[in-house]
């Protein structure tokens, strides 16, 4: 295990964390009976382990879950904000182009109808009157 461990200490520590063979168990119990220092070490290790083992669940304090949820919500808002600003410049561009188009059409056609503003062709008389209507006109 490590050079700084005696063979007995290594066995003692291993027995605390791993199942040891029957032979090793016997050897350890014989050592414990005769070796006061090892017995003392064993007591110390048991005490350390007993004191360190958590007795009750820990906590990060009240409203920890709420803080996480707020952080997640905030992150979602930040993403929405970024998306909004990423597309905002394109939105402004598109609106600008549309307005310029409307003004140009308005100036070219000098009409205030929606068709004119959107650059749609003004309907010709052939589109207004049907053929039958044309025939019914006085010759």
């Amino acid at each position: 295990m490590n050079d700084s461990f005696s063979e007995h200490e290594e066995l003692l520590l291993r027995s605390l964390d791993e199942p040891v063979t029957a032979r090793e168990r016997e050897k350890l119990s014989a050592l414990m009976q005769n070796d006061f220092a090892l017995r003392r070490q064993s007591d110390h290790y048991s005490k350390i382990r007993e004191m360190m083992l958590r007795q009750q669940p820990d906590t990060f304090g009240p409203f920890f879950a709420e803080r996480i949820m707020n952080q997640l919500k905030q992150r979602v808002n930040e993403i929405d904000y970024l998306i909004f600003f990423f597309f905002k410049k394109y939105q402004v561009l598109v609106v600008g182009v549309l307005v310029a188009l409307l003004i140009t059409n308005l100036m070219l056609t000098e009409q205030f109808s929606l068709r004119a503003v959107f650059g749609l062709d003004a309907p010709g008389s052939e589109n207004i009157y049907s053929i039958d209507a044309y025939k019914s006109l006085p010759q």
Partner: protein
């Protein structure tokens, strides 16, 4: 407006409570579908274990809570990757121990020069005024980050040596050796007191 908020809060509270008995798998499935209350229930359920590991390694510090929050945010981000091959608690402990280890190593590196001064002077008379538990906690903090991780899982959280190895992704022999060395250092400190 006020009454509306109250009704929504009450509804949210009852909805959260209704999930108390749901198994983790169901809560994960709901969280994947965007149910934030289900994820909140997972946080409430597993906070204790994560806090145990993180606070054992970093102490009751603001950094410990930051790491705790990061653990759950990382978990939220990886919900779709979580295949359920391990338990949720195991998965969370794995994230927690990695993040806490990183933070601890960063801290130990930053404090290296102070630590060397401390080791020259030792604890001095401070050890006499500390009780046994405080002394152990102090000595525990002096251990290397990797040793602390093993000791936290095995000695504080009570995981078996196999579970500790698996959580840390290290061979069983390494776990046993680090554990033995950590305990030996703690025992040396204890003998000064006893």
């Amino acid at each position: 407006m006020g009454v509306g908020c109250l009704i929504i809060k009450q509804f949210g509270f009852h909805y959260l409570m209704s999930m108390k008995g749901e198994p983790d798998e169901v809560l994960i499935e709901k969280s994947r579908d965007g149910d934030m209350a289900a994820f909140k229930m997972l946080v409430v359920r597993h906070e204790g274990k994560v806090a145990g590991v993180v606070r054992s390694m970093l102490g009751a510090t603001p950094e410990a809570e930051d790491v705790g929050q990061e653990v759950f945010i990382k978990f939220y981000d990886s919900l779709n990757k979580f295949r359920g091959e391990s338990q949720v608690s195991t998965y969370l402990i794995r994230i927690a121990i990695n993040l806490a280890l990183n933070e601890l190593k960063r801290k130990q590196k930053a404090n290296a020069r102070y630590a060397s001064l401390e080791s020259v002077g030792g604890m001095g008379d401070a050890a006499d005024t500390m009780d046994l538990k405080e002394l152990l906690a102090y000595e525990f903090k002096q251990l290397d980050a990797d040793f602390q991780a093993v000791a936290t899982l095995r000695l504080i959280e009570g995981y078996s040596t196999e579970e500790t190895s698996s959580l840390l992704g290290i061979p069983l022999g390494t776990t046993l050796s680090r554990l033995a060395r950590a305990q030996q250092k703690l025992r040396l400190a204890l003998t000064k007191k006893l």
